[in-house]
Point group: C3
Chain length 182, copies 3
């Protein structure tokens, strides 16, 4: 059985859409999917993107906001059905901006993932395939994002890399591919 | 039958070379391939790259310049044989710089693609796998490029992701892999 | 038999870890793997990364420092067992910073690779999947890196693209996948 699915890819590659389709496909009769958002609606761009994602998902989803304590959000929501975490990269960004201990938070997340009974679909981003960034903070962020992705992928049953809205299977069973492209 | 092929990848990943090989492989006896270029020879770097691509392709290709109206170029050239469009990303850049309506242009392109009788091979770029760019225009461009790639991939029969000159199959039949590496 | 393996991917994607595992798997009884480092310990970040890689590899590895003449390092070490070259991208950077002839150096490398009897595992980076860099030197570097990767991939028996610590097979046999994730 697939408990933990990790979906990675570049910006606007169609990761969230595929992750939503996967989460819905994991719901049994009468289960409502839960969307666990890590984004902080800090600026106009992010607020617009959150609103767009919400409009696309529609009314069948419940929402939970967990910018920092993902482990708690997962433990608290286990038993109610499939969850979608969108996304790891913004969670990492929140942790770094807040001066939190990344290793400790990652360990807590992996501990939580290891004991979930209901499925979890996690969205993350590939940020390390461009030219080395000029500034040290951006380099530190892409290093931390790469390590985090490796650790969560190690704990996942399925991992897919998305490009052009289409998944490549990195680990485990292939995704149930979304039928209707944007 | 494969009508629409999309070939994506990073800068200098070997996309154009593979796309040329695919287009040639689709030509029947006595057909000449048509190269539909979207690049504007605006600066020295771009002019040099256009000249280099042209030299590599050789004399068997015909050329058409379509920096903005790709739909028209496709409709006008349908019936004469396989076409190579190189590339979607420069086309998008031309549209954005000229203040054109991206959605309308994309819809026109998809309409044209849906009724081509001769094969079309399209080259595009992955631009969303680095660190989030500092400036808003670059972010808007990579968002628009990601969406465009998703829409064209949805309309394509075959999609391949190229790295190190080698294709990974994202959708449909694998590419006829180019035999001679650079 | 696999003589030349190329492992590519983004920053912190787990390339080096997989390359180390592959190199060890290629060692026969009583062979010690040789680590051929191209990095110059020029600044604090690089020095820390070199130290971290060395600590992870452990005492079973021998080390050779070859910031410029990789062909010589390979020829000189052939016959002693499997070698790991980490990485091509830093080697290219050293060549460009030193004003060396990239084509000549690449030709020498390919000549050397073509006559190795013992296996070589080579790590490189994908740097061309972000937004086009603002500065001309960064653009020239990513162009050169893309061309170099294409040429070495053409000469390799196996090529893998790594994301989230997991390999996708681009050419030849799949990697012996590393069992223990970070």
């Amino acid at each position: 059985m697939t408990r933990i699915t990790l979906i990675t890819g570049g910006a606007r590659s169609g990761k969230s859409r595929l992750a939503e389709a996967e989460t819905l496909a994991l719901c049994r009769a009468r289960q409502r999917p839960l969307y666990i958002a890590t984004a902080e609606p800090g600026d106009a761009e992010m607020t617009a993107r959150i609103a767009e994602h919400r409009a696309r998902r529609g009314l069948e989803w419940d929402d939970l906001h967990a910018p920092l304590d993902l482990a708690l959000a997962l433990d608290a929501s286990d038993g109610r059905g499939p969850r979608l975490v969108d996304c790891l990269t913004l969670w990492l960004s929140n942790l770094m901006l807040g001066g939190h201990d990344i290793d400790a938070a990652t360990n807590a997340l992996l501990d939580a993932l290891s004991c979930q009974r209901d499925p979890v679909v996690i969205v993350t981003n590939e940020v390390g395939l461009g030219i080395v960034p000029d500034n040290a903070l951006a380099r530190a962020f892409r290093d931390a994002a790469g390590f985090l992705n490796q650790r969560v992928a190690g704990a996942a049953d399925r991992v897919a890399l998305v490009a052009c809205g289409l998944p490549l299977c990195l680990k485990g069973a292939p995704l149930t591919q979304a039928k209707d492209q944007p």
